[in-house]
């Protein structure tokens, strides 16, 4: 190469003073930078707005209002036979427990000397969550010998009371509400002073199960989280081996002809198919034809596997392609068989890319709701913890995004807050998965 030196002069252009054409080019570049900055700025602005909205709306769901109350377990009501036989005790339904709890809180109100216009224990109904009766009943069935004692319980406050402590409910907003009156809110203030009503961290929101419309305060995401977990297991165990095997064959072994081209085009097209289509397919094939149970995470996982497969195949093929041919040639050159070259040399080098693709595919599947609508995983479903691994796959369950969708539809505004809270948890999961993908890539990636 020779060093070229610009001589200047010639047509009158100067290096120091830029001519009109250069100015125009520079100006257009500056403009382009501004557009770019504006685009990034707009992106960041919307991200901040979105995150602020999610956090400010949802953070309340992680706090819950509790009532500490000693409940007298009246033997005359709970064990009429007097023999402490669990089967007899079970005959008393939750409706038999409700008056005891109301009486206990009313007693507390009187003990504290709180002035109120209410005159009877039944007026306490508006403060107490309907879940309290079931909580006490379960405890009594587990400890039948304690009937007759006075036991301290930490029960949930009703969703309106909870909303009042979180500033969602005010005296104006409940003016027309038939579930609660202003007097109840005065009472709540007094009980809060006395330390009987207090707000605390809500572990049940993260680990609990869904609740019915009338008990927003009790609803949690835990069981649907398990549903999502079991679905992801199915997706991982099926999509990863099938996807990787398919890509290795297509990339390393298959002849390049019209048939493999046809398959390739189809895989790319499948990746773009709307997920609801896989839901319809799942309903027809897995439930109506194969008679798998409805609402089961197994079926959800199978449907999401179909959806995730193309993503995994495409990313696996890309990372196999990225392994330099020299590695294959060297392996084959020292006498390795094609299979040895692939499994001993190419696949380990492609692994970080494959894992990243798989995790991104899983994250996408984790956030998917539409196909679950059709296979019965949306509704009032996730109420019992599955007992055991098989039940985890087979017994009806929901999934995190489906649960959030369900909550967003419910009438009680307390569910709205929980839907946002659910989004926070879902985002934490997605973020964690993406971080794992980045770490894996950083740690194992090799460059040539």
């Amino acid at each position: 190469m020779t060093d070229a030196t610009y001589q200047g002069g010639g047509n009158g252009s100067s290096l120091v003073a830029s001519d009109a054409r250069t100015k125009r080019r520079n100006a257009s570049e500056a403009r382009f930078r501004i557009y770019g900055l504006a685009a990034i700025g707009a992106g960041i602005f919307f991200l901040v707005v979105l995150l602020t909205a999610i956090v400010s709306n949802g953070i309340g769901a992680f706090q819950q209002t509790f009532i500490e109350v000693p409940v007298y377990l009246d033997p005359a009501k709970l064990d009429k036979q007097g023999n402490r036989n669990v089967d007899d005790i079970k005959k008393v339904s939750t409706f038999g427990y409700t008056p005891l709890i109301q009486a206990a809180l009313w007693q507390q109100v009187q003990n504290e000397g709180i002035a109120t216009d209410y005159t009877k224990a039944g007026d306490m109904k508006a403060l107490i969550s309907a879940s309290a009766a079931a909580q006490v009943r379960d405890w009594v069935i587990a400890h039948p010998d304690r009937i007759g004692d006075t036991v301290d319980f930490k029960i949930l406050a009703a969703s309106r009371v909870d909303g009042y402590l979180k500033d969602r409910v005010s005296r104006e907003s409940i003016a027309e509400d038939k579930n609660i009156d202003a007097g109840h809110l005065d009472l709540t203030d007094a009980l809060r002073e006395a330390g009987i009503v207090h707000k605390g961290f809500n572990t049940d929101f993260i680990f609990g199960s869904d609740a019915s419309e009338s008990r927003a305060e009790q609803a949690g995401l835990g069981v649907s989280m398990l549903g999502s977990l079991f679905m992801m297991l199915v997706v991982l165990l099926l999509a990863l081996p099938i996807g990787v095997a398919a890509s290795i064959y297509l990339e390393e072994f298959a002849a390049k002809n019209w048939f493999t081209d046809f398959i390739e085009v189809n895989i790319s097209n499948l990746a773009a198919v709307p997920s609801i289509v896989f839901g319809i397919l799942g309903l027809a094939v897995f439930i109506q034809f194969a008679h798998l149970p409805q609402s089961a995470p197994l079926v959800g996982g199978l449907v999401l596997t179909l959806m995730t497969l193309p993503t995994i195949i495409i990313s696996t093929r890309a990372s196999l392609k990225a392994v330099p041919p020299s590695i294959r040639d060297a392996a084959l050159g020292v006498g390795a068989s094609k299979m040895q070259a692939t499994f001993h040399h190419v696949l380990p080098l492609a692994m970080p890319g494959i894992l990243t693709g798989t995790i991104i595919g899983l994250a996408q599947a984790l956030g998917e709701t539409a196909p679950l609508l059709l296979i019965g995983m949306v509704g009032y479903i996730a109420t019992n913890y599955p007992d055991g691994v098989v039940a985890g796959f087979m017994s009806p369950n929901s999934a995190m995004p489906a649960q959030i969708y369900e909550w967003a539809k419910r009438a009680d505004p307390a569910y709205y807050e929980r839907a946002w809270g659910g989004i926070i948890i879902l985002l934490v999961f997605l973020l964690a998965m993406n971080v794992i993908a980045i770490i894996l890539r950083r740690k194992f990636e090799r460059r040539w």
């Binding site: 309907a130 027309e176 009338s214 149970p293 509704g379 009806p396």
Partner: protein, 346 residues
């Protein structure tokens, strides 16, 4: 070797799925999204008080639920369909074709349909059934003649209503609620205003006139909401003049955002609906496959628990949530106890 392990796990999954078709031990319910809240309250209490697992309740609409109900008999079909309207003849036929013959119809109570507007907006306290017809029908009676609906404001046909643009958000045609709205509001308004009579007089057949009565104008003054009440609420929230159609229970949970409209001077409440003073209400049902009773554990117990006095009675949790309890509940209880299928007493 890794791939061998993965293949083994895949086989394990397949083995699990092979044993899948084993007995189902939970009651499976699907259907109306209006009935869903009530069904979920019952299912929850059922799970707490009995040793059976909590029933699974899916939503999706009355028609979708009844369609799945009529797919056949067997463990991979649902046991109960919730519906916000009575089952139709052709659905009974579809059921019979698929082998679902003995169906037990259970009426759980009544649901009020209310009109509500934004809390801070103008008050709609002078609704008469005729007003909604005048506001929403494509053709109305003006000075004895049927003309294209000329009204753009409520006050144009009822001076007591606010002087604001008509903006109504009504349930879409896939909702069972729409049918009630057509039948109890539009058709009644059509009769009252005399439009029905005028249409027949102008040479329309009775059937055509009935269809014309329940049509809704398409010039944007009335918007069909295909989503849930939460979507209607969002529309009302952003439109101070909007009037939306809600279920009574939904309104009662959102009294801080909504102002209820009275109908003929009567405000909707469980009491005024039970007494019949408030005109717009409809019965809610669920349908049981008799063939599944005794096969699916807990099915009959769930149905009996649902209609028991402590659940569906006037002081039960359902009434508390907004259901208008059925005065003839004890007959329904007897019917469920005897497993009387539809049509056996007619």
């Amino acid at each position: 070797m890794q791939s061998v392990k993965l293949a083994a796990s895949a086989l394990a999954i397949a083995a699990v799925s092979a044993s899948a078709a084993a007995a189902r031990d939970n009651v499976q319910v699907a259907g109306s999204s209006t009935v869903l809240p009530y069904a979920s309250i019952v299912a929850e209490a059922f799970g707490e008080n009995f040793d059976f697992p909590t029933p699974v309740v899916e939503s999706g609409g009355s028609s979708a639920g009844l369609k799945r109900f009529c797919e056949g008999v067997g463990e991979n079909t649902i046991d109960i369909a919730n519906a916000s309207r009575a089952i139709r003849e052709k659905e009974i036929k579809a059921c019979a074709d698929a082998g679902v013959t003995d169906i037990i119809e259970v009426r759980i109570g009544y649901d009020g349909i209310v009109f509500a507007s934004q809390k801070d907006g103008p008050a709609f306290t002078a609704f008469e059934p005729a007003d909604l017809y005048n506001a929403l029908a494509p053709k109305v009676l003006v000075n004895g003649e049927i003309v294209d609906n000329p009204y753009t404001k409520w006050s144009e046909f009822n001076a007591d209503l606010p002087d604001v643009e008509i903006a109504a958000f009504i349930p879409g045609t896939k909702h069972g609620t729409r049918e009630v709205f057509e039948e109890k509001v539009l058709a009644v308004g059509c009769e009252i205003t005399g439009a029905m009579e005028a249409m027949v007089a102008s040479g329309m057949s009775e059937d055509d006139a009935e269809d014309a009565c329940i049509a809704v104008r398409t010039d944007g003054k009335s918007v069909d909401i295909d989503g849930d009440y939460t979507e209607t609420l969002a529309r009302i929230d952003s439109n101070p003049n909007g009037v939306g159609v809600f279920g009574l229970a939904f309104y009662e949970n959102n009294t801080d955002k909504l102002k209820v409209a009275t109908m003929s001077g009567i405000a909707p409440s469980t009491a005024s609906i039970a007494s019949g003073e408030y005109p717009v209400s409809r019965p809610l049902f669920f349908y049981i496959k008799k063939a599944h009773i005794g096969v699916i554990p807990g099915l009959k117990e769930y149905a009996e628990f649902f209609v028991s006095d402590e659940i569906a009675g006037p002081d039960g949790p359902l009434a508390n949530y907004g259901l208008v309890s059925d005065p003839e509940l004890s007959e329904t209880q007897g019917m469920v106890a005897d497993e009387t299928p539809m049509g056996s007493n007619m």
